[in-house]
Symmetry: D2
Subunit: 329 residues, 4 copies
Amino acid sequence: MIRIAVLGAGRIGRIHGRNAASHPDARLVAVADPHAPAAQDLAAATGAEVASLDEIVERSDVDAILICTPTTTHADLIERGARAGKAVFCEKPVDLSSARIETCLATVEKTGTPLMIGFNRRFDPNFAALRRRLADGEVGEVELVTILSRDPGPPPVSYIATSGGLFRDMMIHDLDMARFLLLGDEPVEVHAVGSSLVDPAIGQAGDVDTAAVMLKTAKGRIVQISNSRRATYGYDQRIEVHGSRGMIRAGNIHRTTVEVATASGITADPVQDFFLERYAEAYREELATFLNAIRDGKPCNPTGRDGLMAQRLADAATESAQSGKPVRL
Amino acid sequence: MIRIAVLGAGRIGRIHGRNAASHPDARLVAVADPHAPAAQDLAAATGAEVASLDEIVERSDVDAILICTPTTTHADLIERGARAGKAVFCEKPVDLSSARIETCLATVEKTGTPLMIGFNRRFDPNFAALRRRLADGEVGEVELVTILSRDPGPPPVSYIATSGGLFRDMMIHDLDMARFLLLGDEPVEVHAVGSSLVDPAIGQAGDVDTAAVMLKTAKGRIVQISNSRRATYGYDQRIEVHGSRGMIRAGNIHRTTVEVATASGITADPVQDFFLERYAEAYREELATFLNAIRDGKPCNPTGRDGLMAQRLADAATESAQSGKPVRL
Amino acid sequence: MIRIAVLGAGRIGRIHGRNAASHPDARLVAVADPHAPAAQDLAAATGAEVASLDEIVERSDVDAILICTPTTTHADLIERGARAGKAVFCEKPVDLSSARIETCLATVEKTGTPLMIGFNRRFDPNFAALRRRLADGEVGEVELVTILSRDPGPPPVSYIATSGGLFRDMMIHDLDMARFLLLGDEPVEVHAVGSSLVDPAIGQAGDVDTAAVMLKTAKGRIVQISNSRRATYGYDQRIEVHGSRGMIRAGNIHRTTVEVATASGITADPVQDFFLERYAEAYREELATFLNAIRDGKPCNPTGRDGLMAQRLADAATESAQSGKPVRL
Amino acid sequence: MIRIAVLGAGRIGRIHGRNAASHPDARLVAVADPHAPAAQDLAAATGAEVASLDEIVERSDVDAILICTPTTTHADLIERGARAGKAVFCEKPVDLSSARIETCLATVEKTGTPLMIGFNRRFDPNFAALRRRLADGEVGEVELVTILSRDPGPPPVSYIATSGGLFRDMMIHDLDMARFLLLGDEPVEVHAVGSSLVDPAIGQAGDVDTAAVMLKTAKGRIVQISNSRRATYGYDQRIEVHGSRGMIRAGNIHRTTVEVATASGITADPVQDFFLERYAEAYREELATFLNAIRDGKPCNPTGRDGLMAQRLADAATESAQSGKPVRL
């Protein structure tokens, strides 16, 4: 039985906490959150205790920690957890600074502790199936990857300021997905453009809300990613991979399968528009993967290095969009 | 807190038992099953006790029972539960004999106990949304209802013999769905045809495996239903309603959203093929509806009478297929 | 070079006339229509002469006639054409009376002239491809056929009165399609129901506007057909065949491939709603098939007997809907 | 009656020649092609005469010329036609050199003759409907344009050498489409990447077969285009525009509407794979637009300047892909 503690009982902490509590080989033993009611609620719902963050890191009856705190605390907590000999699952990103990620990963490496980074989309059953079939060669060699990702609406402008910018906050998921789909062939060149078209306040805060990236890999493969902070029809998440023997894609999930036909046309439901609903199965599968790896003594995946590589791509995209020039990695 | 006992810890009993256990206003207190390990497993998983069926009906700390036992026991258990003052949820059908259903419902009526029959498909989010929009008049007056329902594969021939036949065992769901979609306009005429095309052993057992029904309602609306005991591409469950102002339909759920394009064409996944997966949400919603109705002192729906009406339609279809003549109700 | 004359220069006569004129191995030599401007227009557009119907039947420089006149004249004209040694293409139906069709076909048989009946849908590229793949065994043995056919709007009530009724006027196409898809296994039992739901005036004229039919074949296969005289979203023409190894279907053609996604959902265009547009390719292919058969001395298909069989099914459906009893053939 | 001559009776000349011949207000009077049989065949099929290119330019009974000759001759023929006072329709591109296009357009401008460039895709009914609805504001302000364009297979390597390269030969269509969809907001920045992944011989010939472009407009809108010289599933031509109020897209046309469901999934037909079939209606509509504009004395569209702008974008993309740096316009 793996004994788990969750650090941070906000929206994503509650998801991981509940998923840990319902895993057959795990038990949620402790919950920490500076906001006491949040910690108490999650503890009550899962049979865990409330504890302070410091207590948790010390406790010998905690085998693994789930870091669901604000981004600025991630790297420190990973290091503390690693030094305390705990397996660590950390929400993306490890840090907004790639340099900080590198020192953090060096510490983790020394301790030899398992570390998994929370790129949840890799565990979406649709994207995971696509990746599996791609790796099986069903469409031949990968040539062109197209990723479209649009949020239902922008976050508060106050959040934008501390987010690291769209490329590090939002597109990082797509950059990781690109690496996931390239099957080991790493991007070496990043072109990015960005604009503030959705909300001028985002532009005034120094960020963009509409952006596109082009990646070229060592082997000449090409990736196109586009992002928008707003989609009126739901949370739009699509992937398409064009290969030498065919094309494979994964699309959106509509709210229901209902369609209505009238003189105006045939109308399907909007797509699911809340990321916690859209990726509910992905979060379950992600945590199960982490816990199963610990239980079985197998390597965790995506690794800290995956976190670093995605961050470097996001850094390069940020730089490219600002300078107007491509960045080579 | 509603105290629940589940009678029968087989496949469907486990579903309802777990759903009851996880409902915020309910507690699963007891599980009965003549097969002890089945009862013990479910009890262990939900924190309930194992008890005998007789004990449960007597116990004063049980507010509601979920009848998930073999069909032949349903009517008796409903009556016992009703006389003991318990709310009753019973899997369809109440009984294979409409006459027996009538006496059972008369007993229930005398006791005034709530009784809900388990027509799970009414609670599927897709079909429920379709019905809601139909009732809202989105496509005008209902004129033609088309229901296609195909199982992935036939049940064992040994089961066929005691099933009451395809119309009572399988099509009864579609007959109930037809009534659900007709918004109160009852069928008055039933034409049925059936054949044994899937497996000759089913024909030798006196049943059919491929069948179609045409219903005409009091107001002249028309329903077409077809059933097959085998579909190579999954569990096929489709509804289409043609109305005076448009058409509304609900389709199948594919295993994933992945599509592959090659020289052979563009291929989507087969549809989900196990009814417990296909209707997982429907079962949750169904039990929540039952428990909420009891909690709030509201009427349960679908009612015992809905169970009776579906059974009468299934009887009529069985008779029509055998005689080659339509049956008027 | 096959020399063609078209009898009747109305809507469908113009289609066939122009298709004949543009066939590489045919020449349209004459056009007859009691309404002189109609004949003149078509003649001018195709380089043909205007002639009287009687002249055409006598002329030795006419190898084949296309009968596009009102239904009541079909059987007589077929007989006259056959006696004059001309190949005959006749729009469906041969006659509203099956008895008259039989005498007509007896005459044709005596003369040995080629006769082809205009069931245009068999030549729709989508339905033809479906039939070809069905015949190739791609989905195994046919078990259940579902045909949905809905007109964009009802014809004038004045037309209804002389149309022979919905089953003979509209559903006859679907009955022929059913036979086409059954690959030789003939229907032996017809159940029909009909209602007047679209327009009460149609009911007052003694006809129905919404109808369904169930057919059972000699081998136990089942067909379900439904018709409505109104569909707000276009001319709805769908076929689905369920077989022992899978399912094959052919759907509607949308006006364009454009889809719009907004908060209301994802909306595709309505389907094509004019039968001459929907079946433009079918008409071309149909006439090419007739002309190629004549050129090559091969049998024409669909035959006069196909016309008779469809009419008998339509008669049986009409009788069944009126009597409330199935009709055996 | 507009008197037309077609210069070049190859594949595309035959299309335009036949479309001109069947336009109600036009007559094809002459056909020129150095390959005599090609000219004779088209002349015979349309009732035109065979003439030499020089004769045609001199003839006073020719109102308009359709230039369907090899690219290297386009600019000269446009100038000769313009000086001779003829309306000119010219296949894209005007020339592979933007400088040459500029001098050519200057000549055309002096003569005041109508000139239309053959960007056929603008006239595809699907793309034209999308553009119309976009211009009507159905999805609000344009923010992100995604264009995917994949040929069924690469042209012969011998052709590649003289084609001007993928960006000028293939992507020019998509670059024009991007401008068409941007409704007047011109691209100011072009990032391009390209690789030879389909066939190494293409790379050896100095070209790419897989490429992507990112455009940024004066107003900050973003366009992503990707091209491949090979698609196993047909000629893939898709457009998607994301706007402030929704998304609009136009997809591929499948060979038929048939779908087959088996244990392997539900398979739709490959998409149409020959450009002359895919764009048959576009070519008809394009020529009708040219002829109607001449008949009515209205401006022709797309203009010579559209040809120039697309060429400049293609030049910029070529330069960007070679230098690895974005090009500003």
